[in-house]
């Protein structure tokens, strides 16, 4: 291994990449677009959910209840005259939930004997949107229980336990930092692999790769000459994303920024090696791309980027642990949200190191087999 040869290869690679304005545009635009579009979409709140109300009671108690539900901004009540209209709206997706207040609601509420049956309200949720329905149910229960207590003057029969709930690290349960930290994993896994795979295959098709192999440069030098400049560019991407997330979205890492950039840069090398592997084993650019895209489906779905791994069946959980992105996203979220340092994360870091060594080794072998 000669440093001079490596430097020549590095210069060549940087020039080749910068000459192509499309690649440069992709390197800047895609991470930012992913950051901005992903960071907004995860929400735990229920806001202006359309609630159909069939108020058969039409009493002051029922009107107060509906007003309470509308007050927080969580629900937008719309009145319906009969049950058919309400159900029709639910089928058409015009409303997300329907509240049916029975005719004798107020009387039953006022005249309720201690220990007697409580008046009933019926709520129909649109289960087709399961997340929405689950969130809405929790909200509606909470508001209705609170306002119900006020409706009955003189207090309700005591019972139940108050639970004071606090979320650490993220008290408002804001989805943005969670998604920002995950987006690093997405961009650094998918974009890196794709760019490398396409670049190398195109070079092989163009014949320039064979020329490289005719030079005195060894395979390891060629590999490093490819990986290091791309890795440096993606390390810049990491910094760019951190700054944009901080300035635009107000999300800065709780942990050490330097540590985060270090871990991310190492992880970039891992996914670049995967890209090299895909390109070394493909005959055409289209095939390399197809492999990358097929590999990206489990990347997005199984890595915990959008869906918690915990919720998956056990065999799928094992599968998820075999994906390097799973571990990187875990580390990235731990640093960003919980302010974790190397001591807490040593096991995950060790795994990432293992994946890195393995993938670089495998792609090196695949590359030398082609010569």
């Amino acid at each position: 291994m000669s440093l001079r040869r490596l430097r020549t290869l590095l210069q060549r690679e940087v020039r080749a990449t910068l000459r192509d304005p499309f690649t440069v545009a992709v390197l800047i635009a895609v991470p930012l677009a992913a950051l901005l579009s992903f960071s907004f979409v995860l929400s735990t709140e229920v806001v202006s959910l359309r609630l159909g109300v069939l108020d058969a009671s039409a009493s002051s108690a029922s009107r107060r209840l509906v007003a309470e539900l509308a007050a927080g901004g969580a629900f937008e009540p719309r009145r319906f005259a009969n049950r058919e209209a309400l159900e029709q709206a639910l089928v058409g997706g015009e409303i997300s939930a329907g509240l049916v207040i029975p005719p004798d609601f107020e009387r039953a509420l006022q005249g309720r004997a201690p220990g007697g049956d409580a008046p009933q309200l019926q709520v129909l949720y649109d289960g087709a949107e399961s997340v929405l329905a689950g969130n809405a149910e929790a909200f509606l229960q909470g508001i209705a229980t609170a306002s119900g207590a006020q409706l009955v003057r003189g207090g309700i029969p005591a019972g139940g336990v108050r639970a004071s709930v606090h979320a650490l690290f993220n008290p408002d349960l804001d989805g943005t930092p969670f998604m920002v930290a995950g987006t690093f994993g997405f961009v650094l896994s998918f974009l890196t692999t794709l760019i490398t795979a396409v670049a190398v295959v195109n070079e092989r098709l163009g014949g320039t790769f064979d020329q490289l192999q005719l030079t005195p440069a060894t395979n390891l030098e060629i590999l490093l000459g490819k990986l290091l400049p791309l890795g440096a560019m993606f390390a810049l991407d990491v910094v760019l994303m951190m700054v944009v997330a901080g300035l635009l979205l107000g999300v800065w890492p709780h942990g050490s920024a330097l540590f985060f950039v270090g871990v991310s840069s190492f992880y970039v090398l891992t996914s670049l090696a995967l890209g090299l592997f895909f390109s070394a084993t493909s005959a055409t650019a289209a095939e390399a791309v197809q492999k990358t895209v097929l590999a990206s489906v489990p990347l997005v779905q199984l890595s915990g980027f959008a869906f918690p791994i915990r919720n998956m069946p056990l065999p799928v959980q094992w599968l998820a642990e075999l994906i390097p992105a799973t571990h990187y996203i875990r580390v990235s979220r731990a640093i960003y949200l919980r302010g974790a340092g190397p001591l807490e994360l040593w096991f995950e870091l060790l795994l990432l190191l293992g994946f890195g060594v393995l993938l670089v080794g495998v792609s090196l072998r695949a590359l030398s087999r082609r010569t």
Binding site: G93, D117, V123, A128, L132, G159, L168, L194, L302, R338
Partner: protein, 379 residues
């Protein structure tokens, strides 16, 4: 009459469509998209993915150490969302576990819990790991509702009979999905996800590939107009799209028992403008890209936001203003709205005329853009 007769508009389109069909059959990547992807997505969405909390690791600091406090812990565990709790001695230890991400929730029961609970004036503390906001919100809700329904005096029947504590009883019913499974949410729009992938990436790649290998120029030299070429290319994809729709619907039906509840005819009709609009985007991408690599980049980075912003994986109504409206530009948004109305809620034409209209309008706009960009050009 000369020996060679000029084909009419329809004849040219059909001839080109036949040529395109033969090309498709020999493309292994295409077979991969049509066969491998549906199977993979069906398995993932049907078995693996869920927003419903499961296997939640949690810890309890029980300072009360009474039968009543143990009963509360058992009640929380009985909801089925949790693993066996870890018993801790101090809340400092619990906070450390939360910080390491080893538990997602910490329940702290105060010393005087049993006494105050019998008085009906007790409070427990729940600490959640906000680093995972969606799970934390759900778990907070679950614990809170168990606590509210907890009957310290054990006079009435166990909690299932409904909250005895509230002023009134709320009977909740989940329509279209009584057990509130996420599987139904995902699989209802499986066809939308698959068709987006197919129509965009395959069309864009195919067209650019032909330009690169020079066969596009050959087609241009035929006595046909640009619109005929585009339509002739797209027609076979419409056929394949209906095949993929069939795979998605039958797979969800036979595999998971999720059959469309509404009108099949409306489903078929709704799919046409969506497929046409998606194909038009593919053509547009191919017109913008200079190489197949560029076509892939552009189409992949159109597909990903489509999946996220359209509402196929996350409910679009929870997205903030502005982001929600941006998503309305995507054909997949309207298709998934229509799919849910037909597949999950049992609607028909009456319910989906608006999404159909929106998709048709999108197709019309895209067609104009394609006509403007796809000037027959050489080189």
């Amino acid at each position: 009459m000369s020996g060679r007769q000029r084909l009419g508009f329809v004849g040219s389109v059909l001839a080109l469509a036949w040529r395109e069909r033969s090309v498709m059959r020999h493309d292994p990547a295409f077979v991969g998209v049509v066969v491998a992807q549906p199977v993979m997505m069906l398995l993932l969405l049907g078995f693996a993915l869920s927003n419903e909390p499961a296997n939640v690791p949690w810890a309890v600091v029980d300072r009360s150490q009474t039968a009543l406090s143990r009963q509360l812990v058992r009640d929380v565990g009985a909801t089925g969302y949790f693993l066996a709790p870890r018993s801790l001695h101090g809340s400092a230890e619990g906070r450390e576990l939360l910080a390491r991400g080893e538990v997602l929730a910490l329940l702290v029961i105060p010393e005087d819990f049993a006494r105050s609970a019998r008085r009906g004036d007790s409070e427990i503390q729940v600490l959640l790991d906000g680093a995972d906001p969606l799970s934390a919100a759900r778990i907070g809700g679950i614990v809170r509702s168990v606590a509210t329904q907890f009957d310290a005096t054990r006079r009435s029947l166990p909690a299932r009979a409904g909250p005895g504590a509230g002023a009134f009883e709320i009977r909740a019913r989940f329509w279209f999905n009584p057990t509130l499974e996420d599987r139904n949410f995902f699989l209802a729009t499986l066809a939308g996800m698959l068709l987006t992938n197919l129509c965009l990436s395959v069309t864009a790649l195919g067209l650019v590939g032909e330009r690169e290998s020079g066969t596009y120029e050959q087609t241009l030299s035929l006595p046909v107009g640009p619109l005929e070429i585009v339509l002739g290319k797209l027609l076979p994809y419409v056929g394949v799209s209906y095949g993929v729709l069939a795979i998605a619907v039958l797979g969800a039906g036979f595999g998971f028992g999720i059959w469309p509840r509404g009108s099949w005819l409306a489903l078929l009709a709704l799919t046409l403008p969506f497929v046409l609009a998606s194909l038009a985007i593919g053509v547009l991408v191919s017109a913008l890209a200079r190489s197949s690599a560029q076509a892939v980049f552009i189409s992949v980075f159109f597909i990903l936001p489509s999946m996220i912003l359209s509402g196929v994986l996350l409910p679009y109504r929870l997205m903030p203003d502005g982001v929600r409206e941006i998503g309305a530009i995507l054909p997949l948004r309207w298709y998934q709205i229509g799919l849910r109305r037909i597949v999950s809620r049992g609607g028909g034409f009456e319910e989906v005329w608006l999404p159909m209209l929106a998709l048709t309008a999108q197709f019309a706009v895209l067609l104009l853009l394609v006509r403007w960009r796809m000037k027959p050009r050489l080189g």
